[in-house]
């Protein structure tokens, strides 16, 4: 069986393995389980995909889609010139229990840097990695080093809200633009920092929009809100519950923990309620088994979730149970060729925030290509930036929040 062959290629070089896997999976279909054909290198469930359906504004009303321009290519025109040693830094959890998120961002950024360096012989940009383990204390140790390295003209990170809070002052005083791909706590931008830019919509935008959409457009009268204990999940659930108003059913709301794999009690609560829908505020790693266990328990009300879950991995892991799930995201869909390039370079599929990592790195690289040589120049460039990324339009207001507040609604079909 070809699959067995694929499993045994483990010892080979990653690139080779990835290529093999893609070809192996592309050409075969599974006979005995209902004719599933693989759409990607990860064996997915029968043709399920996350498909964009509508775009909504903060009041949950549909907004017609205006055709946006092509995303900016990090490679540029290939004629960039810059000083030797020009670098950008990435700070986030690269080891430790939260390493996956940091790596997603870093690997995404590496795709952009790789493309840039390959195309621009006259400008080789290094990406310097700084590991914070997601620990604010560690971040305070790392931050002075980043600030002290004069060759670093922009920072991708810090990844988490906690470490961002702990180090924001440092970067602000050093005038180093820090573009976070993942810190979603709404309060971060209220500190008066001049150098912080959030590369995604904060929960205060997405929450009300999705909540209103669920009540007004989808017509749900009773929704169970389930949240995880992450910064992201807690903040989002708060906004969603507030936005839902009376439609949020407290008797079947539940809290789970990041890393949980079993949701028996939450499932039980929901199955014994007569809710119209479940909203899950958290990441796909928990959402997938949760959705699956809901289906296993015979609960077939709609599963609604947000950008943390809006990931191909959700469909891969939840399989048929993901069908019909409604996922919001402030982001546009990640194109397939990005996923392919990412997997070829990093040996794994892109995850949450990979696209943001790529987009933000692209912005920095575009800046460097346009002749930016120092932090002040980069700060100026980012402040005035207005361009398309893979995920969304990037343009910031003066607090460092994205000015566009449109949310996409997706459905797994």
């Amino acid at each position: 069986m070809q699959r067995t062959a694929r499993r045994t290629t483990g010892g080979l070089a990653l690139a080779l393995a990835a290529t093999l896997a893609i070809t192996a999976c592309g050409t075969q279909s599974q006979g005995d389980d209902g004719g599933s054909t693989e759409t990607s290198s990860e064996t997915g469930s029968a043709d399920l995909k996350i498909v964009p359906s509508v775009q909504i504004d903060i009041d949950g009303a549909e907004v017609p889609v205006e055709t946006s321009g092509d995303p900016v290519d990090p490679a540029g025109d290939g004629a960039a010139e810059c000083a030797e040693g020009t670098s950008i830094a990435m700070a986030g959890a690269l080891t430790g229990p939260n390493a996956a998120l940091g790596q997603n961002i870093l690997y995404g950024a590496k795709v952009a840097v790789d493309a840039f360096n390959a195309a621009n012989a006259g400008c080789q940009v290094t990406i310097k990695e700084f590991d914070t383990e997601g620990d604010p204390q560690k971040a305070t140790q790392v931050a002075p080093q980043i600030v002290g390295d004069a060759s670093i003209i922009a920072l991708l990170g810090p990844a988490f809200s906690g470490e961002t809070s702990a180090t924001g002052d440092v970067f602000s005083q050093a005038g180093l633009p820090s573009l976070s791909a993942s810190a979603t706590n709404p309060d971060i931008t209220k500190n008066g920092w001049k150098t912080f830019f959030r590369g995604l919509a904060n929960d205060a935008v997405q929450g009300p929009a999705v909540a209103k959409y669920m009540v007004d457009t989808l017509g749900y009268e009773k929704v169970c809100v389930v949240q995880d204990n992450s910064d992201y999940g807690v903040g989002l659930a708060k906004e969603i519950t507030a936005g839902l108003g009376d439609a949020a059913d407290d008797s079947c709301s539940a809290e789970v923990k990041v890393g949980d794999k079993d949701f028996a009690a939450a499932t039980q609560l929901i199955s014994s309620s007569d809710a119209d829908a479940v909203f899950y505020a958290g990441y796909y790693a928990e959402a997938a088994p949760f959705a699956q266990q809901l289906r296993d328990a015979g609960v077939d009300i709609p599963f609604v979730s947000a950008d943390g879950t809006n990931d191909p991995q959700f469909v891969t892991q939840a399989g048929a149970a993901s069908k019909g799930a409604i996922l919001s995201c402030p982001c546009g869909p990640a194109p397939d060729d990005f996923a392919a390039a990412y997997e070829a370079l990093n040996g794994q599929a892109p995850g949450v925030y990979s696209v943001e990592g790529y987009d933000l790195a692209t912005i920095m690289l575009t800046g460097i290509a346009s002749g930016v040589t120092d932090r002040a120049g980069m700060l100026d460039f980012v402040t005035n930036y207005d361009g398309e990324g893979l995920a969304r339009t990037y343009k910031w207001d003066d607090t460092g929040e994205l000015s566009s507040a449109l949310i996409w609604i997706y459905e797994v079909q």
Binding site: T95, T140, D231
Partner: protein, 463 residues
Amino acid sequence: MSTSTPAENDGTTQPVRPRPELPPAGQTPVAQRPHGGLGDRFRLWWDALARPAQWGVGVPFILFVALLPILNIPVLTTVGTNFGAVMAQFGMYALIAIGLNVVVGQAGLLDLGYVGFYAIGAYTLAILTSPDSPWNVTQPEGWLSDDWAWLAILPVAVAITAMSGLVLGSPTLRLRGDYLAIVTLGFGEIVRLLADNLDEITGGGQGLKSVAYPRLGVTEELPNGVFSAGNVGTTLNSGVWWFWLSLVFIIISLMLVGNLERSRVGRAWVAIREDEDAAEIMGVPTFRFKLWAFVIGASIGGVSGAIYAGQVQFVIPTNFNIINSVLFLCAVVLGGQGNKLGVILGAFIIVYLPNFFLGRTSLFGIPIDGNEIANYKYLFFGVALMVLMIFRPQGLIPVRQKLLTYGRELYVAARRTLAKMPDGGPQAAYATAAPASGTGSGTDGPAGNGAGERDETTDGGNR
């Protein structure tokens, strides 16, 4: 590790002779092999010094350590992380190690939930001073001025941590060894889960930010003072200031613990550690002294937690994982359970080593991948624990019990006699030396215990 091979070190000065040491600190036949390396000679030399001379040596040494992050010594200074901030973390871990050492090293109670006390200290400070918390007492909502908030809340944090030690200790300290370890492990997790679940007070997974810190040294460039995270100067950054602050607390707690160790309490701890049943029978109120150890250990952990919350200005439950408890324990075991200076070294190793490798691409000209090495730190610490337990369970700098409060000279004299003793084997040497050192001046083990127990019995009679 030089101390473990007596022959090498002693060979130059004296004829090699195994010392009539009895096992240190709750140890076993494993530890019964003699020690007589550098460490011992240093110890002897140190003990022989007069008090003023000890100060004369000690103060410059402490000053040197304090100035380490400023001196910028080549190889020693960390590359990937800021040395001052690393030393600040070392300061906090050293405090923790001193506190945990009281519980584990001196009283022999294995506490796997020590991170809980650290968390309680940090959270007390955060809950009372963070604007996100409903119980914030600082301005503008509260009455407490921001400038003094950290210092004012610190005693509160310590008091609450001490109380939590009492609350945890009173039911659980009736349990023995292994059970206690698992129960404290559960306690540590419960504290973290409480911080996670009681989100209306603790902020849950969002944590509490803008925690108070001392506002000192406010200048034009540093509107928030030298302790603020915004102080990123090349030499005198906030990390250095926090390191100095924790040094002050380290010295205070060392004095406190040192005095306790030499007091009735300390002797009771040793007695409990060596043989709880015997101690109980001899009249030591074991439960009460165990509780003491727990409470004192907890409060020192609370101080460290409060320093942490102040430095990072942000607390979140994930930073108080059980894995930290194990790291703390690792510091104590590595340094030498029961030896309060040893455990500080242990804390230094735990904090410094991973940071030493971080971001380093070459060491003494040899190319290395420092990040990769730092990545494996838990693996290394795990292996270190296992290897240490097999070959050197007493730690790098083992403890020597000397239970005599005022008999230093006698002790030194006795040790010197032992060292110069002609043939006759360790047993003979011990037999002759012990009486020579007087009734109360036992060196180690049983003799020491005897002193402690006698003491306790008389006290018991008086009560």
